[in-house]
Symmetry: C2
Subunit: 187 residues, 2 copies
């Protein structure tokens, strides 16, 4: 019975790879110029092993980009962007994205270029919602699409920074994030 390509070592390789990717997000969120050695240490693997999975730094960054793309897609799906007013969808989307944690910081800091993450639909899901919100009148017409997009991302960044820095309850941060974005973009 043929299962997959690499029946035996698939588990180990996948686990090591995931550990490196996770550690990379964590370390690059702390410092965008984090060393490969630092990342390897954080992942609990040798630097040699890291290079075995990602021969060059850019290969690792590519992997982060791809991983980020999947996570964003998934989060977008969870937020059910089609339901209710566009404004309420933007708020729901923000909550989902907050779950992405360090990934937000890495995207926002420009360490990986999120504009290279095309949705399956081919465009930024938040931007699409903002346009819809301007059309259906649920989002402040005095604010441009770009500006509203910026509000969402910068508040997400802000929320995550507060969440990981000080000892604040996740619940309080989510409440304030939702409240802030909703107030700011409301028509």
């Amino acid at each position: 019975m043929v299962v997959t390509q690499e029946p035996a070592h698939r588990g180990a390789r996948a686990r090591t790879r995931a550990a490196i990717v996770d550690a990379a997000f964590a370390q690059l969120a702390l410092d965008p110029s984090a060393t490969l050695g630092t990342i390897a240490d954080a992942a609990g693997v040798g630097r040699t092993t890291l290079h075995r999975y990602f021969p060059e730094r850019s290969d690792l960054l590519d992997a982060l980009l791809e991983h980020a793309g999947h996570r964003l897609e998934e989060a977008t799906r969870c937020a059910r962007p089609e339901d209710g007013t566009a404004r309420s969808a933007v708020v729901r989307l923000s909550q989902e994205y907050l779950e992405l944690g360090d990934l937000l910081t890495v995207i926002f800091s420009g360490t990986i270029d999120a504009t290279c993450i095309p949705d399956p639909d081919g465009q930024d899901p938040i931007l699409a919602l903002v346009r819809k919100g301007h059309a259906d009148g649920s989002i402040d017409p005095e604010l441009t699409d770009d500006w509203v997009l910026g509000i969402v991302w910068s508040q997400l960044y802000n929320a995550w920074e507060i969440l990981r820095g000080r000892q604040v309850s996740r619940h309080d941060v989510v409440r304030q994030l939702v409240r802030t974005i909703d107030k700011a973009i409301a028509a």
Copy 2:
């Protein structure tokens, strides 16, 4: 007639120094790990000259910190933080700070540590205003001091990014910045 310590070369030295500091803000805003060579080029001086003014990278960063402190103080003074409600003062302060340009990006990105910039009064002027706003009821009591502070900084960062990236009128950006912060922090 004794004027100052260095009558002749004061002008030249001061000008070169200022050019380096300005270029450093510009380049570090583009990339926090910008090379000293890049900064020297941008300043239109040789790398040797840069090292003559700032023997080590950290000396340059120290100078940026000090310069930022003065600019922030000046901007704070211009905003007349004592006038009107604390909320209106926060909005005025934001407008003044936006004038600081790349300095905002450099502070916000953590390239220089702004928490090391103590006001003459010994504390962050925005934070002081936020506390006052919570006391006088002009700022949303559902949002913590830290959160409101974060809103202001992240929106300033956002505003400056939009202003320097795309070709948008300063006027439109200021209008949206003021509107966004005012709406978000209003009680």
